[in-house]
Amino acid sequence: MQSFCIKRGTLLGAATSLSLLLGACGNAAEESSTPKEKADPITHQVEIRKFLFGPETITIKAGDSVEWVNKDFAPHTATDESLVWDTSLLEKDDAKAIVFTVPGEFDYICAYHTEMRGKVVVTAD
């Protein structure tokens, strides 16, 4: 499973304070904090069906992942409105997970069918 990791950090253009990190998902904030017991990260699933994200809004904890699964014939994406993260093209039955490490609300769309909208709400761990 290929996944992406986002954290607060460098600027990506003028519109966002988030950066997209590919591969390594180390989090400087976590490294400098006091170690504590943490629940194992969970992968939550969002199904894309009939040109809808289901659930439309998903609430997860920092460190968890969201996996989008496309059940439509039409290819879709889940693409952050600020273009910070993106699943890239998902054909029917394709799935891709993204790790969210920073609390916040992330509105996203399908890049091909922009009327399709969803939101990931990330709460503090």
Binding site: F73, A74, P75, E91, Y112
Partner: protein, 175 residues
């Protein structure tokens, strides 16, 4: 729902001969026509990408290619799974003839004239196709997998119809 297919087709930008609404189509004919309709829209889209410089039109055309290729790929997979051969029919032939005429007309246009002609045709085409799929193909299909595929495809095509409505509105073709 008794679909007045002939009237619907006549109202579309794509000129096609009337098809009697009482003409029942078998599964193989439905599969052929559905695949043909998708292929024709892909051809319109390629034409739009070759001619149009309008961002909204080009984006729509790219979506049409991506989505219709995906739906037709699923249709081919189903046909292969069922080991059947889709059957050419009057409606498929009418769609092909009408699309050829439309493409010939569009080929003489440029700029906004082309964009509006393409956009309005896409709206009319999807309206016709959607009414036909929903009112005729799905009710008349007997193979469950075909019926399911048509149902899923209809969701895609309805999204295209809405997208086409927005594209037409954004072009201000009546202005």
């Amino acid at each position: 729902m008794k679909l007045k297919l002939a009237a619907v087709l006549a109202a579309a930008a794509v000129a096609v001969p009337a098809v009697a609404e009482s003409d029942k189509m078998n599964d193989l004919e439905i599969a052929h026509t559905a695949y043909t309709a998708g292929g024709l829209d892909i051809r319109y889209a390629h034409m739009a990408l070759a001619i149009s410089e309008n961002a909204a039109v080009r984006e729509f055309a790219e979506v049409m290619i991506r989505d219709h290729v995906a739906v037709n790929k699923a249709a081919v997979a189903l046909v292969q799974k069922l080991n059947v051969t889709p059957q050419d029919n009057g409606l498929s032939q009418a769609l092909v003839k009408g699309a050829a005429e439309a493409r010939a007309k569009f080929g003489r246009l440029t700029g906004k004239a082309f964009d509006c002609a393409y956009a309005q045709n896409e709206l009319g085409y999807h309206q016709v196709v959607n009414q036909t799929v929903e009112g005729k193909f799905i009710p008349e299909a007997t193979v469950p997998e075909l019926k399911a595929l048509l149902g899923d495809a209809l969701v895609t095509f309805k999204a295209h119809e809405k997208h086409a409505e927005k594209m037409v509105a954004s072009l201000s073709c009546d202005a």
